[in-house]
Each structure stands twice: as structure tokens, then as C-alpha cells.
Amino acid sequence: MLAFLLRRIVVAIPTVILISIFVFGLQKLLPGDPILAMAGEERDPEVIEFLREKYRMNDPVPVQYLAWVKGALTGDLGISLRTNQPVTELIGQKLPVTIQLAVMALIFALVIGIPAGILSAVKKGTITDYIANVVALSGLSIPNFWLGIMLILLVAVNWQLLPASGYVPPGEDLWLSIKTMLMPAFVLGTALAATLMRHTRSAMLGVLKSDYVRTARAKGLAERRVILKHAFRNALTPIVTLTALLFGELIAGAVLTEQIFTIPGFGKLVVDAVFNRDYAVVQGIVLVTALGFIVMNILADAAYFVLNPRLRKQ
């Protein structure tokens, strides 16, 4: 297991290098001049020249890259051109926010998606299955921003049940924090729940057809036990892997959701940074999310390992 993880990590290294090049290339890709963007309405040429020097914009690209990599390796991702804050600090600030959103959304997604998936697989072809599928598809096909704004208008403005937007750190007021995050997490969660439900359904359908489920029935086990223990346990493996792959979707969804609900997380940071050409921030965030993705996948592989006795050391 340890060796496996190690191997997995080593294999990820070239990917990470590629990602870093790619991420760095992003800034060369984007049009618009970051310095100009930060020079303000007045655009004093002297200041602009000074800033170019200060942020090493005049160096050759490979030099800039190496300098960036060197910094990144020591945990220094540069500073935000816009607010002068160190990017590492910004990320430190935003990460917990997005994690909270992601976790709550994931909880929504799991709590809705998995039971619905199991139910619709078990009741395949019935009206229950049909309804579950259509609801799931609705989750997939309603744009997040639309649902989000609708919810804000309905829940926050009309019913005044929940705060309209924003973010409260859990450390400050846990209950309020959860309440504030409820709508965004739901919006983000529904789309994921839909995906998860469909994955669960198809995994369960596959497993339910398998011989060992028939064996479990032949043993005389109660249907509940057959489904929840024998079938679900085996369907879990693909579900876990897919859940890790959902990470990307989660982050992408978070970008929009944070935009709508004005949540000061990763997604909002990165979109604003792209629009402001705040490269250090864009690079930092994309790097961290990409690493996060890789870590999630390694974890998923590890979970696969744990869940799948076939892979465990004999």
C-alpha cells in the first residue's frame, strides 16, 4: 500500500511539472497587460515601467518561469498585483472557504445522490426510477447561476429565511456560517448529486446483475441486506473513484457558485484574477487546484486499494 502510494506520487511528478508549465504559460497566453490593468485610470508611464521591472516582466520567459518555480518550491507564489497580498496567504484565506463549500455540497450530493441512485437501480424501470432520473437530469440541466439567483430571490428576499449571499467563517458563528452556505451548497450539490446518482445507478445496475448477488440471494439473505451489503459494497468502488473525479466538477461548479453567492473562495478569486490579469494569483490557484485534483485522485486510488481486496497485498 505504501509502496503503491509512493509509486503513484512519483508517477504524478511529470504531470505536476507539465501542469506548472501550463499554468505558467497561461499568463503568456492571456492577452492584456497586467501592469496596465493595475496602473489604474491614470496610467503613469513611469510607474508602469517601474512595475514591469519590479514584477520581472522584462525578463525572458524561461527566467521568469524558473524564478516562479523556485519560489513555488519554497512556498512563495508571489504577490497579488491587485492587493499586494502574498498569494500563499490569499490561498490560505480562500482554501477553507472553498473547502467548506465543497464539503457541504458534497454532503448534499452524497445524501441525495447515492440513495436515489440505489433506489432507482433497484426499482429499475418503475415510476420511481423514472422520476429519480428526470429529477437528476434536471439537476444537470439547470444552469447553476439561474438556480442560484432564483433561490436567492425566493429564499432570501421573499421568505427571508437565509442570508442572500456572503460568507461567515465557521469559527465566528457556526450556525450562521452553515446557514449562509446552505443555498450555495445546495446549488452546487444538486448538479453533483445528479451525476453521482447516475453513476451510482449504473454501478448498482451492473453489480445487481452479478453472480455474487445471486449467490447472496440464494443464501436466503433478506433483500435489504443483499442490496446494502453485498451489492452496494461492490458498487462503492467505482463510486468512490468517480467522486474523486467529481473534484474537478466541484471546483468548476464552485467558480460559478461563488460568483453568484459572492463567496470569497477560490473560484471567485480565480475569476477576478483572470479578469484583472492578476497572474500570480491565477497561477497560484490553478496550481493548487491541480495539485488538489491529483491528490484527490491518488486518494481515490488509495481508497480503491482499500475497498478492493484484490489489490491489497496478499
Binding site: 496610467r43 510607474v47 470569497p264
Partner: protein
């Protein structure tokens, strides 16, 4: 009590010498006092400077400073501090204020609370600059210590002091107990929340999550005015929105639109500014054809807003050799209001035979292209300055810092330069009118309208006064429980 105010975007760095965003200035209104302030009628009034006087040739400004003022870190405010601030604005490499205080050649501390500012040549705009970021006083001690990072923890002398900032989430200021005008301040703290989406910002006000919002969308105005729980305040802004043509900025200027003023005038004639204001803003914007809004004392009534005249526009086109119509590519920031505006413009111009193609760009890209001269026409605006110079000089003078149009006309240069050096309002107005006449003919910039600042406030909030500079001043504002 806490005052929660929703902004339309997240301010940039909170250092008056470095900052460049409009919303940043709103935060400074609570955080940093300036040497002078303005009235809603744009008259200059004392703030940290209690009185001031010019020498005869307008090259020396002597200011008396308010006594008993301290910065948030306890550093006393005195003439030395003013001198240090001016030096900082002039010399700090990151300073964006250099051009604003470029005319200052030196300072002389005359007493603990008296200072003389020497100018290289007369500068009529200086006091107005002191009513803005260039006049904001930061604690010299803190500034010296933090250097370029001052904005992470700004120390000024305003009614509120900096508590914390979470980028894109909030900026929290708390009441500064030792503020010289503390009686006027009725809040214990103020929280600025950037909420970019108009609908969501308004929803926050409606749901009671914030006390007031900046920039209510014009299209929401009519509906919200009806809402008994919400009050709406508005004032015409100092800024403008319009279309800048590339008439001399690089190779791309060499096109019919850059070469022939008749085309630009024809374009202007095809527009119905009233209708634009009605359609896009439901009337909540002031149509205009100059860099100053029609209600401004600087407005030149000699060149009034032309009526829409499609026939005349066509004539002009024909005269210029485009009787069959002509294409025009306009770059436009991909923001909803600009898009909506340009679509209306597009359909109006089409009636005169001008086929506009919209080239939507992100703001950052557009800015870069515009300053590089890589455009034909561009839909841009300006947030406006108290002094008229700030709305025109740098845009149309040959050496102007933001002259993206590349316009150059010696008469305009002369008139606008002259307006800078006299303090006499009447003389200045004459100069501006003179420039206006030429600019009207040449039309490198076609002004369309002036935004109306619209604030929406919870009904409990009392005592708010709208200022044309768009700031939200908290003096005298209170919340009834």
C-alpha cells in the same frame, strides 16, 4: 452599530498613493481624511486643512492645519506629516499620484500646523487633487515602516480605522474614538462587502443583510422606489461614458473613421441620447455631449446637445463619400450595461447607414488594445474628477497621459493648458469652451451620457447626502433602531 455597505466590486490595495479603483475611494471616505473636501455643489471646504491661501502668481499655497488630530496609530497630524505625505506621493516608486502632484516643487513647514507648498508653475487643479487621494493623509510613521506594503494595513486619520480585510469578502473598519469630528459618527464599525452582481447586491439589501448598496442598477430603480422599506438616493455623476475614436494613435488610426471628422459627427448625429437614456437606464442617466454633465457649471451651453438627425448624418456620410453606408468596429467591455448601451447605439447608427460591429472584450484586454492603439473605436468612460481639468486635459492634449485617441490639436492644447494655470473660474471656463468648440467639430470622443449614482438604503438609515463624486460619506449618517 455596524453599517454594512455593499460595493459593486472589491477595492484594490488600500494605499491612497497606490490605489486606482473607484470603489477604493469609497472606502477611503471613511478611512482617510483629506486636506480638503467638497460640498455636494463641488465647492472646496476645509477638512484637515482649516484654511489656505495662494500667493499672487499662484505658485505658493499656504495651508493652516487642523490641530488635535491624530492618526489611527497615535502619530500626531502636523505639518511634517503633510510634507511627508506629499513627498511620498511624489517619490514612492509605486505611487500612482505622481502626475496629480507633479506641479509641486517643494514644501516648507512653517509651523507645527502650517505648511507652504511651492509649485513650479501655477496649478489650478491642485486643491481639487487634495480633495481626493492625493490629499489623503496617511500616518508617516506607519508609511515609513510598511513601505510599499502599507496597503495591507493602512493607517490614516479618518473617522474609522482599519480592522481587517478579507479579499473579495469584506473590509471592516471600526470607529476611531479619537477622531476630531467623532460626534458626527454614529456607527461603531462599517463593513464594506463587494457584491458584483446587481441582482444579488439588491437582494442583500432587500433581505436585510446589508444597510445600503452602491450602484443600484438603473433598471431596478423604478421598482425599488416603490418599495416602502427602501429609500433611493441619486445624483448625476462627475464622469461620462462615450465612444473614443482612434484618430492618431498608431497605424490603425489611418482609417476613414480616424481620418474624417465628418464621419464621427455623422455618427454622433445618428444617436438619440434621450432615447438611449430611457431604454438603457429608464431615464436614470443624464444624456450629454461633453466631458461635463449638463448640470455642471463647466458645461458649455454654446455647444448644446444636438438633436438626433438621421438625414443630416446621412448627408455627412455622403459628403465623406459613404453614401451607401459604412462599417464601424467598436470595441466594448463585455459588461451588461455597456453591451446593452452599444446594442442600442448599434441599432440607431444602422438607421443612418453606419453598420456597427461590436467587438466585446474583457476590460483588461480592451484597455491594453486601446492604449496600444489597436482599435478603431472604443466604448469607454471616466469616473470623473472634481476639477474640470481631470475630465478633459489628459484625454485630448497631445501629451495627455490617457490620450488613447491620439488626438492632437495645438489650439486645444493651448486652451486646456491655460485653463490649468489660472485660478479664475471665469477665465478657465472660457478656455474650456474654446477647446470644446474645436473638439465638437473634431469629435475624437463622442460623449453619450453621464451616469447617475444611485444608492439604495434601508429605510432605517438617516442623514445620507449624495455627492456627485459618488462617495458615501458617513458623517451624519445614522441608523434608527
Amino acid at each position: 452599530a455596524d453599517f454594512r455597505f455593499a460595493l459593486e466590486s472589491d477595492p484594490d490595495v488600500l494605499d491612497p498613493d497606490q490605489s486606482r479603483t473607484f470603489v477604493g475611494r469609497i472606502v477611503y471616505a471613511a478611512l482617510c481624511d483629506k486636506l480638503v473636501d467638497i460640498t455636494p455643489e463641488l465647492e472646496l471646504v476645509p477638512q484637515l486643512a482649516t484654511e489656505w491661501s495662494w500667493n499672487d502668481d499662484g505658485t505658493k499655497l499656504t495651508m493652516k492645519l487642523r490641530e488635535g488630530v491624530t492618526f489611527h496609530d497615535g502619530t500626531p497630524f502636523d505639518a511634517e506629516a503633510v510634507a511627508a505625505n506629499i513627498e511620498r506621493s511624489q517619490t514612492m516608486e509605486e505611487s500612482r499620484r505622481k502626475s496629480e502632484v507633479a506641479s509641486i516643487s517643494g514644501t516648507e513647514v512653517l509651523g507645527s500646523h502650517e505648511i507652504r507648498i511651492d509649485l513650479a508653475q501655477p496649478d489650478a487643479t491642485l486643491l481639487a487633487q487634495f480633495a481626493d487621494r492625493a490629499g489623503m493623509m496617511v500616518s508617516p510613521a506607519a508609511a515609513a515602516e510598511a513601505g510599499a506594503d502599507f496597503g495591507l494595513n493602512p493607517v490614516c486619520s479618518g473617522p474609522f480605522k482599519f480592522e481587517e480585510r478579507v479579499a473579495q469578502d469584506k473590509i471592516v473598519l471600526s470607529k476611531f474614538a479619537d477622531y476630531w469630528n467623532a460626534d458626527e459618527i454614529n456607527f461603531d464599525s462599517v463593513t464594506y462587502l463587494p457584491i458584483p452582481d446587481d441582482t444579488v447586491r439588491l437582494a442583500n439589501l432587500q433581505s436585510g443583510d446589508v444597510d445600503a448598496i452602491n450602484r443600484l442598477a438603473a433598471t431596478d430603480r423604478a421598482r425599488i422606489i416603490e418599495d416602502p422599506e427602501i429609500q433611493v438616493e441619486e445624483v448625476i455623476s462627475l464622469g461620462y461614458q462615450g465612444i473614443t475614436f482612434n484618430v492618431g494613435n498608431g497605424d490603425k488610426a489611418d482609417n476613414p473613421w480616424g481620418n474624417d471628422a465628418r464621419l464621427r459627427r455623422a455618427f454622433e448625429l445618428s444617436l438619440d441620447r434621450e432615447a438611449i437614456s430611457q431604454v438603457v437606464f429608464e431615464g436614470a442617466a443624464a444624456p450629454g455631449n461633453q466631458s461635463f454633465p449638463p448640470n455642471s457649471p463647466w458645461y458649455d451651453s454654446g455647444t448644446p446637445m444636438p438633436e438626433r438627425d438621421v438625414e443630416k448624418a446621412k448627408e455627412l456620410l455622403a459628403e465623406a463619400g459613404y453614401a451607401d453606408g459604412i462599417d464601424l468596429e467598436v470595441q466594448v467591455p463585455n459588461r451588461p450595461v455597456s453591451m446593452q448601451l452599444m446594442q442600442v447605439v448599434q441599432s440607431m447608427a444602422a438607421e443612418a447607414g453606419i453598420n456597427i460591429t461590436l467587438n466585446a472584450k474583457e476590460f483588461a484586454t480592451m484597455l491594453a488594445d486601446q492604449s496600444a492603439g489597436d482599435y478603431v473605436a472604443s466604448q469607454v468612460g471616466w469616473s470623473g474628477r472634481v476639477d474640470p481639468d481631470g475630465n478633459i486635459h489628459q484625454f485630448v492634449t497631445t501629451e495627455g497621459g490617457i490620450n488613447d485617441s491620439g488626438f492632437s490639436n495645438p489650439d486645444v492644447d493651448a486652451a486646456l493648458d491655460a485653463a490649468r494655470v489660472t485660478a479664475d473660474t471665469a477665465t478657465r471656463k472660457e478656455s474650456y469652451d474654446e477647446a470644446r468648440k474645436i473638439l465638437n467639430e473634431e469629435a475624437p470622443l463622442v460623449y453619450i451620457y453621464h451616469d447617475t449614482w444611485i444608492w439604495a438604503l434601508d429605510d432605517d438609515i438617516k442623514g445620507f447626502t449624495p455627492y456627485p463624486d459618488g462617495m458615501f460619506r458617513l458623517e451624519g449618517v445614522s441608523k434608527s433602531e
